[in-house]
């Protein structure tokens, strides 16, 4: 039942230190595949399975750093998988990814030994950020330095440099740049940016996103021959290095 998801277009990013293993247990195949694919693009080694029983067997037999676990699974309920794993002293960090939204569901999940809880539908950037947090808690040092061409951003120290020159950004500009870098070479719509940087979507339009992208352009692109932030007409923005 398991399969090793793989990508052809893109080789895993070189990641300093040891290999990081992630298991995705999700019965919705399309969803499982796109999650796995995205994680692989970030340089993680990902296994995927589609039911609770397989998930339990895999997680018990191999040491994964992080388990991304759905709750409503065929053959074995996600909550039961989690309890059994914890009873057998499996230490992997577990992130529950589910559409069950009530407070009781969250509490139950965390009580059963989950380390984080993310509600569907979610943004990939948020899933990635949470996975990184879980890895850091485990002592696995994920790559904190992100790089696009000669632009560097350190998530930990919050330093931004371009061509070796320090750039000062406000908190919102920093969040915006981090989001763009995390999604490098991917188009981000204005609404997606608004939701992830400001935490909500503006009913009155996404004008504020344009304003902040302009601030960011002034800070990181002005005075450099190569522009990194591009507008995709009618869609949104993209940070590209090619």
């Amino acid at each position: 039942m398991t399969k090793k998801a793989h990508t052809e277009e893109k080789a895993p990013l070189p990641r300093p230190g040891r290999e990081v293993f992630i298991l995705v247990v999700e019965d919705e195949r399309h969803l499982a595949d796109s999650v796995a694919r995205r994680l692989q693009e970030e340089g993680y080694t990902v296994d995927v399975c589609h039911d609770g029983e397989d998930g339990y067997q895999l997680a018990s037999s191999k040491k994964y750093h992080v388990l991304i676990l759905d709750l409503l699974l065929p053959r074995k309920d996600g909550m039961q998988v989690l309890r059994d794993l914890r009873r057998n002293k499996v230490q992997s960090m577990v992130l529950i990814l589910t559409a069950k939204s009530t407070v009781e569901d969250r509490v139950d999940g965390l009580r059963a030994g989950a380390d984080d809880y993310l509600l569907k539908p979610f943004a990939f950037a948020e899933l990635l950020a949470r996975v990184e947090t879980l890895l850091r808690r485990q002592g696995v040092e994920p790559k904190t330095l992100m790089q696009v061409a000669d632009l560097e951003l350190d998530v930990e120290s919050r330093n931004v440099r371009r061509a070796g020159r320090n750039i000062h950004l406000t908190a919102k500009e920093f969040m915006l740049l981090e989001l763009l870098m995390r999604n490098k070479n991917r188009i981000l719509t204005r609404r997606a940016i608004a939701e992830q940087v400001w935490g909500y979507t503006f009913d009155t339009g996404t004008n504020v996103v344009d304003v902040y992208v302009n601030y960011l352009r002034k800070a990181i692109d002005e005075g450099f021959p190569k522009r990194l932030v591009h507008t995709v007409r009618g869609v949104g923005f993209i940070l590209k290095d090619e």
Binding site: K10, E28, L72, K100, K120, N185
Partner: protein
Amino acid sequence: MLRSIRFKLTLWYSTIVAVTFFVVGFATYQFVSRMLNASLDQSVTNEVQWIAAHMEKQDERQESAANMRDEIQEHSRFSPLKEYVEIWDTAGHIFYQSRNLTGDTLAHYLIAPPDHRWLLETPTNFRDHDIRLAFNKTSRASIYLAMPTTIVTSALSELLNILGWMGPAVLVLAVLGGFFLARKSLSKVTKVTEAAKRITADRLHDRIPETAVDDELGNLILTFNEMISRLDASFEQMKQFSGDASHELRTPLTVIRTQLETALNSKVSPAETKMIIARCLDEAIRMSGTIENLLLLARSDAGQVAMKADRVDVKELMVQTYEESVILASQKSITVTLQKADPVTVQGDEYRLRQMLLNLIDNAIKYSRQKGAINLRLVREQNAARIIVSDNGIGIPEADLPRIFDRFYRVDRARSREMGGAGLGLSITRWIVEAHGGTLSVKSDLSVGSEFTVTLPVSG
């Protein structure tokens, strides 16, 4: 406070006590006053009669006038009440006058003219006190005899005095007593109120402590608790429903969102983009279906779905649906057989009845194994049409049977998702059957199969 039942009860109680006290007091006063006056009159009359009788006896015995005066005076001395006596002879001279009358003439105080035989009056102008004055005219003399009414008036004023201070005292006691009585009987009500206040939407599991006493209040508490139980159940149902609904809508939304995010990667090939778009379309259609069904159920709850009442040829409907279902079932190589189709018509909505039949068959296909068998039967009975859809599929566990018609309820949620159901089909089916005045029942054995039976009333 002034509008509280306790205040009103106290007010009523005190008013009743006060009115009772006033009536009893007034009656007592009247009775005592009448009795005292009567007894005074009696005394006066007795004295006059004694004098009259005595004077006649004296005459018979030929006693001297002086002797008679002495006897009258002697008699007066033993009277328990002070008395004034004056006797006139027929010649118009005062024959006898008691000493306490010095300077006064009783005859002057008589109001009515002394030409009656007998008079009894209360002149008010005698010295400083009222008197009861009796007059008796005999053949021998005119007798005037008076006694002060002080004995009556002082007794009455004493009584009034007693009633006067007893009144407020009784009233105060009534108010206090009424207040405590009301409080005692209402204290349980206060407790119920406090308990009811604690029970909010989030705390519907709480109940008011029930008393063993089978009184009005005990019944109230019982009724109240029953009401909370019903509220609790419907809140729980609502919570379950909105949780399920949001789950059903979130899942396709998640797929759409992650797929589209993937598509926005500049490195996704055009062919892959097309696939992603197709998946998203699928999910969107699935979501529309769920929303459509949800809206239909919501509108049916609100009674906003108009149900036609045409004559529907159920046999015809059954045959048509059977033909459609053969195609539907062929994907899983399931054999569908129309075993029996009696001619029968019912009063109803053809569109909804078709939807009901398709739902049942779709359900049977979903929960049948590859190469399974589904049997359809339409049986005409005395005054009912019976539609039976049976399969030899996976069956339904007994514990789940009572809940399969609940909205979003599925025996195995994870597996159902693959088959594309949101768990609303059977709810809609039951609604349609019940809207037609029929009944829907189910029999099932695990891994043997299920049998759904619709019974519709026949329109003559």
